[in-house]
């Protein structure tokens, strides 16, 4: 069952094309993330769905109701779409409770429903405060409660966590995820942060060049990216040149098992090796390609090293993710051993 269906959506600002024949379907009750770099048209897409901006062409359906097409434009106040902008946009002249109840009918505003919503986002005690008296995370949750108050057909979130501090972000993120799961409301979230998209969404749609380049579960997106561009955009990636013969591929890291069907004979391919799929050993002379550590980013629970392969000065250093217990200063000799199957694309 799909809650949002977009087909052939087009939008240009002057000569600059932002959305080009974009198709997207969002299943009911899911939390879907639109992932794209800054300026890729994510916000434009949300604003069109919300009815704030007009598309140049294409249709938007919410449920089985056409809200945008060549013949129809439903104004924002008749769409029943909750919208949570990046900075929350709470009404500064209203209390928290009045903000939450803003979209309700006049006699409902002071009733139980506002209280329930505040309880749902964990802010029962703050109803009488004004927005400027809240922290960023609290403001964001009020904005969410306000959007949920109108029993929306779906909720749109525009980079909702971008303005929060890093340590706050994770907790607000999981709160929001929980609230949506409990409410069972369909949500569409846009973000430029791939970690965020992978962490909280049921589905991730990658927006590139004005259309959806890939739309799948986070796990599938990470392990089976549709092309090398997406592979590089989602997480760290080593993209190597290789030659594929049947189920094997020859690379600078040696002979690796490749997945997926192959062409007959040998074929020039691009090979994706994720950093955590490479085993790193401190001592030289071991089996496998040898190199030396260029630098190391230490994260505590793990570390990311860049390793320059010996005798292969013309290829970029290999990114390797290891457990954080190595003591490997730059220059240390290491050997690398890739594990598992790798993904390849014809060059």
């Amino acid at each position: 069952m799909k809650q949002l269906a977009i087909s052939g959506l087009r939008k240009a600002f002057g000569p600059h094309r932002v959305l080009a024949d974009l198709d997207l379907e969002v299943p009911a009750g899911s939390l879907t993330a639109i992932l794209g770099p800054s300026g890729s048209g994510k916000t434009t897409l949300l604003r069109i769905i919300a009815g704030f901006d007009l598309a140049d062409g294409g249709t938007v359906m919410i449920g089985d109701r056409v809200v945008d097409s060549d013949r129809v434009h439903v104004s924002p106040e008749h769409r029943r779409i909750g919208y949570v902008p990046q900075e929350g946009s709470l009404f500064p002249h209203l209390t928290v409770a009045a903000n939450v109840g803003f979209g309700l009918r006049a006699r409902q505003r002071r009733g139980q429903r506002t209280k329930d919503l505040l309880a749902a986002v964990g802010l029962s005690d703050l109803g009488r405060r004004y927005p400027h008296e809240l922290s960023g995370g609290q403001q964001q949750r009020v904005a969410l409660a306000r959007a949920l108050a109108i029993e929306p057909a779906m909720v749109l979130l525009d980079e909702p966590f971008a303005s929060l501090d890093a340590h706050l972000r994770a907790s607000v993120r999981s709160d929001v995820q929980q609230i949506f799961r409990d409410a069972g409301t369909t949500a569409l979230l846009v973000t430029h942060d791939q970690d965020e998209a992978l962490a909280i969404a049921d589905h991730v749609a990658v927006l590139r060049d004005g259309r959806i380049a890939q739309h799948s579960t986070p796990q599938y997106l990470y392990s089976e990216p549709a092309d090398s561009g997406i592979a590089k955009f989602i997480g760290d990636a080593n993209l190597l040149d290789g030659v594929r013969h049947g189920d094997f591929v020859e690379t600078a890291l040696g002979r690796l098992r490749a997945e997926g069907p192959s062409a007959a004979g040998s074929q020039l391919v691009t090979v994706l090796v994720r950093p955590e799929h490479i085993e790193l050993r401190p001592a030289a002379g071991d089996a496998g390609p040898a190199g030396w550590v260029v630098d190391c980013e230490y994260y505590g629970h793990d570390a990311v090293l860049r390793v320059q392969l010996k005798g292969n000065g013309d290829i970029a250093p290999i990114i390797v993710r290891t457990a954080g217990d190595h003591q490997l200063p730059p220059g240390s000799p290491v050997t690398l051993r890739p594990k598992g199957q790798v993904r390849t694309w014809p060059r």
Partner: protein
């Protein structure tokens, strides 16, 4: 307490029962896919701009009636050059002085640890509440050497410098003070930081204030009349009173032309000074600049400024009131009647101007575009029309195109005020709308609120204090308006200004003084409120 799950029970992750959409909720394709044009707003704005253009149309019709040859002869005579020289040199000198005093005062109040900043913030603005002709009455009645060019410079500078102070202090308050810190950290000294960073932040506001000063000077009548300084406006008044309409029209055309030059100059300079701002808009309080030993001269400067701008006119009025040599006030009744009449006119005109400015401001702020900007800009031309021209235009129009209003010219006077002070209201309303960002309107719409509800529950609520400020600005100006009031006041009715004028023209300074004081008191209240408004808006950001 219900569980979160029950809260969104209406949706429960399923699609809504579709149901056919009521016809009025959807728009036809032709409209849907094109850019939304604010048709209603455009219509209202165009009508208002047209109404404001009436005086100009009157000028042109009259000039045409007089014949091009006559008008050109009237323009190219030595009197015109004399008036031009008088007007231009005064405008240049006073505008420059106002820019310096207004900017320096604003910087000291907003960015330094000047003792008593909150009090100075009020005292510096209050002179705006004192009518220019009362200031010149105060100076001239005490010291008769204050007249002519010299006197006009002193009096007008002290009367109008708050027009620069107000916008500059507002812009300094909203500008990013961190930029000054960055400049200092880059090794730029305090003085050059002020010149290179602070001044450029405030440049738009300074230019805007100077524009106002220049235009007010071009239209000033009462003060120059007392000081015996001849400008275009005083000469136009004389010609009108002598029923020499063609000559008055010819001079008015030149005056409008000068004002156009001022407007164009300001416009072309403003385009260059865009202020980019990166990062979040959150405001930080930074420690104000320490004045150190400079505190004493600065304090002395503020004291002198307050004494000259506030002390002299108020003091002179008090002096003449208790001066045994001149006849005093003959009972309080005329004073009370005049005050009530003035207040009534002020409230009506303030409301009219603010309401009229709203659609134009909304259009300019929310739907920027070349045509709309020109529409908005065109309304500022009114500032260049002396009150005397607007008043005569209205008289002329009602006499020619209606059966006439007879003796009841009060509605005409209100309309005249509303036209004259429309630009003031527009400035205030635009500023107030900036406090009601369009994002919040969109938010309200997405929560199911119809446009009218959004206007009432969000836009007007947020813009409310600013609208009140705009209303106060107009009220203030009406109380202190003289020229148009003299011409349009119904027979037998007196406002504070006209009664004052009558007495001071007869040199009955003792009788004029109470009216001056009441005018100051009546106008000071809104100007105090204005100060409070600007104060609060800075506090809420801090």
């Amino acid at each position: 307490m219900t569980s979160p799950g029950a809260i969104a029970a209406g949706t429960s992750g399923t699609t809504e029962p579709p149901g056919p959409l009521p016809a009025h909720r959807t728009r036809r394709a032709g409209h849907a896919r094109r850019h939304r044009r604010p048709v209603v707003l455009l219509t209202f704005s165009a009508l208002i701009a047209a109404a404001l253009a009436v005086p100009l149309v009157f000028l042109l019709i009259e000039a045409k009636g007089a014949g091009a040859g006559t008008v050109l002869d009237l323009i190219f005579r030595s009197l015109t050059w004399q008036l031009l020289w008088n007007t231009v040199r005064l405008t240049v000198v006073v505008t420059l002085l106002c820019a310096i005093i207004g900017t320096a005062a604003a910087w000291c109040v907003e960015r330094t640890d000047l003792p008593g900043r909150r009090i100075w913030a009020v005292l510096v603005v209050v002179p705006l509440a004192i009518p220019d002709f009362v200031v010149s009455f105060g100076w001239f009645s005490l010291w008769s050497w204050v007249q002519g060019f010299k006197g006009a410079i002193i009096v007008l500078t002290l009367a109008v410098y708050p027009l620069v102070y107000l916008p500059v202090s507002a812009s300094l308050r909203s500008a990013d003070p961190g930029q000054e810190e960055v400049a200092r950290s880059l090794g730029v000294r305090r003085i050059s930081t002020f010149l290179r960073v602070t001044l450029s932040q405030a440049r738009g506001a300074i230019l805007g204030g100077c524009l106002l000063v220049a235009l007010v000077l071009l239209a000033e009548f009462g003060a120059f009349e007392i000081l015996g300084y001849q400008t275009f406006t005083t000469e136009i008044f004389t010609e009108f009173n002598a029923a020499n309409i063609p000559a008055a029209c010819a001079l008015s055309l030149v005056l409008v032309l000068i004002s156009l030059v001022v407007l164009a100059g300001e416009g072309s300079m403003r385009g260059r000074g865009r202020v980019a701002r990166t990062g979040p808009m959150a405001q930080r309080k930074i420690p104000p600049a320490k004045l150190g030993k400079a505190r004493w001269p600065v304090l002395a400067g503020f004291t002198v400024l307050a004494l000259l701008a506030l002390g002299v006119p108020v003091g002179a009025s008090v002096y003449w009131m208790f001066d045994s040599g001149s006849p005093g006030l003959t009972g309080g009744v005329p004073l009370l009647t005049a005050a009530l009449t003035t207040a009534e006119y002020g409230v009506l005109a303030g409301a009219a101007a603010t309401v009229a400015a709203f659609p134009v401001a909304l259009l300019a702020v929310r739907h920027p575009g070349r045509l709309r900007m020109m529409l908005e800009r065109s309304t500022y031309l009114v500032l260049a029309m002396p009150g005397v021209v607007i008043a005569f235009a209205l008289i002329y129009f009602t006499e020619r195109y209606t059966s006439g209003l007879g003796n009841n010219t009060a509605p005409l006077l209100i309309v005249c005020y509303a036209i004259m002070f429309f630009p003031l209201a527009l400035v205030g309303v635009k500023a107030s709308l900036a406090r009601a960002p369009v994002k919040l309107d969109e938010m309200a719409a997405s929560l199911g609120q119809a446009r009218l509800a959004v206007l009432c529950r969000v836009t007007l609520r947020l813009a409310g204090p600013g609208l009140m400020a705009a209303f106060c600005l107009v009220f203030l100006s009406v109380v202190t308006e003289l020229t148009a009031t003299l011409l349009l006041i119904p027979t037998g009715v007196q406002t504070l200004a006209t009664q004052f004028w009558e007495y001071q023209s007869n040199l009955s300074y003792g009788q004029a003084a109470p009216f001056a004081l009441v005018m100051i008191a009546v106008a000071a209240a809104p100007s105090y409120l204005l100060g409070r408004f600007f104060d609060r808006s800075s506090a809420s950001r801090g």
